[in-house]
Amino acid sequence: MATAPEHLEIERLTKVYERGQVVALKDLSFGVKKGEFLVVIGLSGSGKSTLLRCINRLIEPTSGSIRLDGVEVTRLPAARMRRARRGMGMVFQHFNLVKRSTVMTNVLTGRLGYTPTWRSMAGWFSKSDREMAMRNLERVGLVEKAYVRADELSGGQQQRVGIARALMQQPQLLLVDEPVSALDPATSNSIMQYFEQVNREDGVTVLTSLHFLSLARRFGTRILALKDGEAVFDGLPTQIDNVRFKEIYGEDAEEVEVR
């Protein structure tokens, strides 16, 4: 039986930061199937964020290939890269909202890739875009905050705005960079549930980095562990036992439970 084609295929991906010759990713290869919930774990500095940002080329990879549905992303010219980015939503550790703008404006920012430049300069978004923004805000439970400034929201609410913004892109793939490490445990769980929902209901492939193994175990359908830019584990969440854990996080690590 033929295996399903990979949605995202990464081959020998390497990123070297020029200053100081730091190697963030070393010859990393893996594939992600449509509808997977892949969690990338690893210590700080293991290359998780770099990996996510290489995929949508916010960071330019040094070498290697990234194919999204068979299209080589690393060689796309600027204009086509912008179009490719529309299909890849991104959610950030520090939410990355414009704090002085309203929640609505922030959510609509996710639609910029679909809006002609001249129209967005004047701040005109089509009616359907605005309706879509409202629907997405409804989905994350923030409709009544639509016209509130982003900095008036709590951390968890800001991250929900971030999710709504990413959903505006109608993404096939959601790149999520440490979505809960700036949040408290209870909020973390509810935020992760939104990703689970998007993954299950809309069939969006989710690629997320996480600090806590307990969250990774609970939400991931597959786990990829990075250490110094190399994959040290790739498999099911249940396969990570104490020995594997020490391999990934080092001898002195203790597992912390987050519920």
Binding site: G20, M88, M90, F92, T109, L112, S120, M121, G162
Partner: protein, 448 residues
């Protein structure tokens, strides 16, 4: 003597192939010359003091005998060199600190006095001999090795990957109080020296301030009795470009002049400021070129004072024409605001920019949705402040014929009619005061 096997055998060519060694040598040379230059500066100061006090304090019959003998120059050069070397061995010198270098012991936890003395002596034996020590091991020159010390990048630089990691650095050693370190008291010494020297060079004279106070007193007394006779009515004798004006006429004209130049200047500076921000443009060669050009433009045009621009434009469009003032103020506004705006853009939170790019936004869209909302409050504040500056500046540029209320100021000053000058000054103060209040109020309203 235990020496790291990797570094002990390397010759200068092998060493120079390693960027870390190249960096170390560069820092070493630069810090050395900085230390030398510092003592050169001290020598200059000493010569200046000798000269100055010789002719002010020394009795007359010794007069005319202060000359530097022919051997003075070589002695100065050598003495400063020696002082620099002693400094570099007796503690953490200012030059070494400035270039992030530190002497570390090769064994033991501190460098003893005999070793420091040995290094001074060994330096004289090895360095002047065509840099022999460096030639055989650039990161462990002879005078270091045989004194049992090494010059290594400090912890801060090591973190950036600039270092050689063959020796433990100064980690764990408690930081000394700043004034107990050599670079600390050296900095203080240089500061005091510079102030003292500056005081003599600029001929600051406190006694003149006291002895000539009565002359200024007359002037102040007249200004303090302002004469408002021409505030509303035109002065028939004062003619500017075939017209007669009252103070109020020219005040209103000045306000419009500054308003126009501020609006025009901001309109040009606003788009330029994004091109002059490194975080927006610094991603490829073309962007960097534009960035450099725009920043260069800001710097050049800002360096040329408004007064000079006003002179040029007064000749160009006519003496006393407010249009000359508008042009001069506009150019300076563009350059000054452009620089301030650019720096504001460079200080933004990169997060929203990243988010907008990730959603497929174009360059202009990123600026419109991720940059502008972040910088708008500061832009407003700077613009209002600039208007304030322009009002004050407009009074001065009238001196060279750029029109406005300042024309009256200088006209009556030249006529010696100090009480009318007083009236003009009061009018200007009133306007500046009101503007300050208004702009503060506006800032609070617009900028949240």
């Amino acid at each position: 003597m235990p020496i790291d096997a990797r570094t002990a055998g390397s010759t200068v060519l092998a060493g120079l192939a390693r960027p870390a060694v190249r960096g170390l040598l560069k820092r070493r040379v630069l810090s050395f010359f900085l230390d030398w230059a510092i003592w050169g500066y001290v020598a200059f100061a000493v010569m200046y003091f000798l000269n100055h006090y010789w002719y002010t304090w020394i009795p007359g019959h010794w007069y005319d005998t202060l000359t530097l003998p022919a051997w003075g120059w070589p002695v100065t050069v050598l003495a400063t060199l020696e002082l620099a070397i002693v400094c570099r061995n007796s503690g953490w010198s200012l030059g070494m600190r400035a270039f992030g270098l530190r002497l570390v012991p090769m064994h033991g936890d501190r460098i003893t006095l005999p070793r420091r003395v040995a290094r001074v002596v060994l330096w004289h034996a090895s360095v002047p001999l065509a840099f022999m020590g460096f030639w055989f091991s650039p990161e462990h020159p002879w005078h270091d090795r045989f004194a049992g010390v090494a010059l290594r990048p400090t912890r801060r630089l090591r973190g950036a990957g600039a270092g050689l990691d063959d020796l433990p650095d100064d980690e764990g050693r408690p930081e000394k109080r700043v004034l107990l370190t050599q670079w600390g008291w050296m900095s203080l010494f240089l500061l005091v020296l510079t102030f003292w020297l500056g005081w003599l060079i600029t001929e600051a004279n406190l006694s003149a301030l006291a002895s000539r106070a009565s002359k200024a007193g007359d002037l102040f007394r007249q200004i303090a009795r302002p004469d408002f006779r021409y505030f509303l009515h035109e002065d028939p004798i004062f003619v500017l470009r075939r017209g007669t004006y009252s103070i109020l006429d020219l005040m209103v004209l000045t306000l419009y002049m500054t308003l126009l130049s501020t609006v025009l200047g901001t309109a040009v500076a606003f788009p330029l400021s994004f091109l002059g921000a490194r975080n927006i443009m610094g991603f490829n060669a073309v962007g960097l070129l534009i960035y450099t050009l725009v920043r260069g433009f800001f710097n050049v045009f800002r360096a040329i004072e408004t007064l000079l621009w006003a002179t040029v434009f007064a000749v160009w469009v006519g003496w006393g024409s407010p249009f000359a003032g508008i042009l001069a103020l506009t150019i300076h506004t563009v350059a000054a605001l452009g620089k301030l705006f650019s720096e504001q853009v460079e200080g933004i939170d990169a997060g929203p920019v990243e988010a907008a790019r990730a959603s497929g936004a174009s360059f202009l869209q990123v600026i419109r949705y991720a940059v502008i909302p972040q910088v708008m409050p500061a832009f407003w504040a700077f613009t209002l402040y600039r208007w304030d500056i322009n009002v004050r500046m407009s009074t001065v540029i009238a001196l060279v014929g750029a029109g406005g209320v300042g024309t009256l100021l200088f006209y009556y000053k030249n006529e010696g009619q100090w009480s009318i000058v007083g009236a003009v000054v009061i009018a200007i103060i009133a306007v500046v005061w009101i503007m300050d209040y208004l702009s503060g109020w506006l800032r609070e309203r617009i900028i949240r």
